[in-house]
């Protein structure tokens, strides 16, 4: 059976090669080369693709496992930091708005529980209507109001530091009411 297949295959090759001799060489070579190219491309694609994914995924895994022990605290810190809610203020004011009281209570709870191992940095910010020292002071007074509220809710004062960025750290640059309102804020940052 095998010999039949082999012999027929050889016969077929002979026939084909015979045909090839008759056909213009150029055509044959073109056909061959195109096939080779296709095969090569297919092989390359098949070979390279899994190697790439394997390499990438393994390196990712390596990074995760290597620095996992060091980064855990930092990653946890960043995760908790995202849970802390920004406190917004009214134009030229540094008192806590009624609608911000709830955010502040949430922040105080997080500060006393999940974030209890970290220091808290309060960053005071202002809208673009002012550019001088007064504006920096306004940002600082906002941070200080938040600090006092946190302390009143039982957060250790020694854990809290403050800085003011005036108008130089905007989250929004459009010239709209909504945008300015977003910039009058105190952000929470955690420090190890």
């Amino acid at each position: 059976m095998k010999s039949i297949v082999v012999s027929s295959a050889i016969a077929a090759l002979l026939v084909l090669s015979g045909c090839g001799d008759k056909d213009p060489k150029v055509d044959g070579s073109v056909a061959d080369s195109s096939v080779e190219q296709e095969v090569l491309q297919d092989q390359a694609a098949q070979e390279v693709a899994p190697v790439q994914t394997e390499t990438v995924s393994s390196s990712e895994a390596a990074v995760m496992s290597d620095s996992g022990a060091q980064e855990t605290e930092g990653q946890a810190m960043m995760r908790i930091e995202k849970e802390l809610l920004t406190i917004y203020f009214d134009f030229d004011k540094f008192n806590i708005r009624a609608d911000m009281q709830e955010n502040l209570s949430t922040d105080a709870d997080i500060a006393k529980t999940k974030a209890k191992d970290f220091s808290i940095k309060l960053e005071g910010n202002c809208d673009e209507w002012g550019s001088d020292e007064y504006n920096f002071a306004l940002g600082l007074k906002r941070a200080n109001t938040v600090k006092k509220s946190l302390v009143a809710e039982g957060v250790n004062e020694g854990r809290i530091t403050m800085v003011s960025f005036g108008k130089s750290n905007p989250v929004c640059n459009d010239k709209t009411r909504e945008c300015w309102a977003k910039n009058r804020r105190v952000d929470f940052k955690l420090l190890p």
Partner: protein
């Protein structure tokens, strides 16, 4: 229809000529001055820049009616150009590059066909050509017997925001044409010259754990830490002899003014109000002027350091959050509209400690960062109006404002 058009044309011409008469009258009172260019080196770009710079400087002097035509003539030509023969003065200059690539400028001023003023200038770097132009204007002003314009040769230091929490400190000439970045990278603000010679400056770094005041010696390039404070740290003013600083610090989260002794490195708290006290300036030997919200909005107050008495200085403006002091004069920035949102107008005003007189110095836009020149003769400020920022120079005694467009970047703070 034709009647209507001719009516409008008549109206236009009538009013236009009225305005012109007014302007001509005012301009005629000043002597006329034309500038002739005899440059032999450099391309048109630099020649044109130098000419523009010189014209601007001569204008800022406010003592001439300056002709703005860029005309060229041989430096040794016996008489002035025909177009300039009716001018009171003709300033002729020649830019030439020597073998060491230095920029040489020969200058003569001609009046009644006689050279009345001759001087040569030289700088090693062509990039600082504007300082030559400022110096020529300074010398011409002196030659004309006017009060000295020392500030024209001085440098400006300012901080510019490049990104949120990223800024750079820049040293510039008074028109901000020449700009040299001295501190790059990080978040550095509120630069302040440390002495009259402008050989060093203070600035606030927000990159440290606490806001920190630093000192930089320009000649050596060395920097040192002066002091840190939680919350806020700004050097608002330096005494004339450089020995004392007025700082805003907030060690307990409470922004207050402190007097810092450079020699002993000790500081003394000057204000104790529970709100905001910032931006202090020395007033005479034993008083300060500062910004406070003790009336519920920012306003300008003075405090006598001996008696401790506090006095409200300004009774005009809804929100006055910045000031600069020279002698008995105080210039302050006032918000003139009470829009919580929208385009507020901020104008600069001049008051004297000795009279009740208030003079408005600007008319439109947002005008901020007022700083007196070292001799009190001029004011520098930043104007933002219709999406264009400019640096402004106010000649107080001549009642004139000059604006130089700013190329890019938001100015955070400026000192002169």
């Amino acid at each position: 229809m034709k009647l209507l058009i001719s009516f409008f044309i008549t109206i236009t011409f009538t009013f236009a000529s009225d305005a012109t008469i007014e302007v001509i009258k005012r301009i005629d009172s000043l002597p006329s001055l034309a500038v002739e260019d005899s440059s032999v080196s450099y391309d048109e770009t630099l020649r044109s820049r130098f000419f523009k710079s010189l014209i601007a400087d001569l204008n800022v002097l406010s003592i001439f009616n300056v002709d703005r035509h860029h005309r060229k003539v041989n430096y040794d030509a016996g008489s002035v150009l025909v177009e300039n023969k009716d001018m009171n003065y003709v300033l002729r200059y020649k830019l030439s590059q020597d073998d060491n690539q230095a920029l040489n400028v020969e200058v003569k001023m001609i009046s009644d066909d006689k050279a009345v003023f001759n001087k040569n200038y030289k700088v090693n770097n062509t990039n600082v050509y504007m300082f030559v132009s400022h110096t020529i204007a300074y010398d011409i002003n002196k030659f004309m017997g006017e009060a000295p314009v020392e500030w024209m040769k001085r440098k400006v230091i300012f901080s510019r925001m490049v990104d949120p929490q990223k800024s750079e400190l820049v040293i510039a000439d008074y028109t901000l044409t020449y700009q040299h970045i001295v501190v790059k990278g990080g978040f550095n603000i509120f630069p302040k010259w440390a002495n009259k010679e402008q050989s060093a400056f203070y600035y606030t770094s927000l990159d440290e754990k606490k806001p920190t005041l630093k000192y930089v010696d320009i000649k050596t390039g060395k920097s040192k830490v002066i002091k840190s404070s939680d919350g806020m740290m700004v050097c608002s003013d330096v005494s004339d002899d450089g020995s004392k600083l007025l700082l805003t610090m907030a060690p307990e989260g409470q922004p207050d003014i402190y007097l810092y002794d450079v020699r002993t490195q000790s500081s003394k708290r000057l204000t104790t109000f529970g709100g905001i006290d910032v931006g202090a300036q020395f007033l005479g030997k034993d008083s300060i002027v500062f910004v406070s919200d003790r009336l519920g909005y920012p306003n300008i107050f003075s405090k006598n350091l001996n008696s401790g008495s506090v006095e409200q200085i300004v009774y005009y403006g809804k929100s006055n959050s910045a000031c600069s002091v020279f002698g008995q004069y105080i210039v302050y920035k006032a918000r003139e509209s009470s829009e919580s949102f929208g385009n507020n107008t901020f104008n600069l005003h001049l008051v004297s400690m000795e009279t009740d007189f208030i003079r408005r110095l600007t008319a439109v836009g947002i005008n901020e960062f007022p700083r007196f020149s070292i001799d009190g003769d001029a004011l520098i400020f930043i104007k933002s109006y219709k999406a264009q920022s400019s640096i402004g120079i106010i000649r107080l005694n001549h009642n004139k404002n000059y604006l130089f467009p700013l190329s890019y970047g938001k100015v955070q703070s400026i000192d002169w």
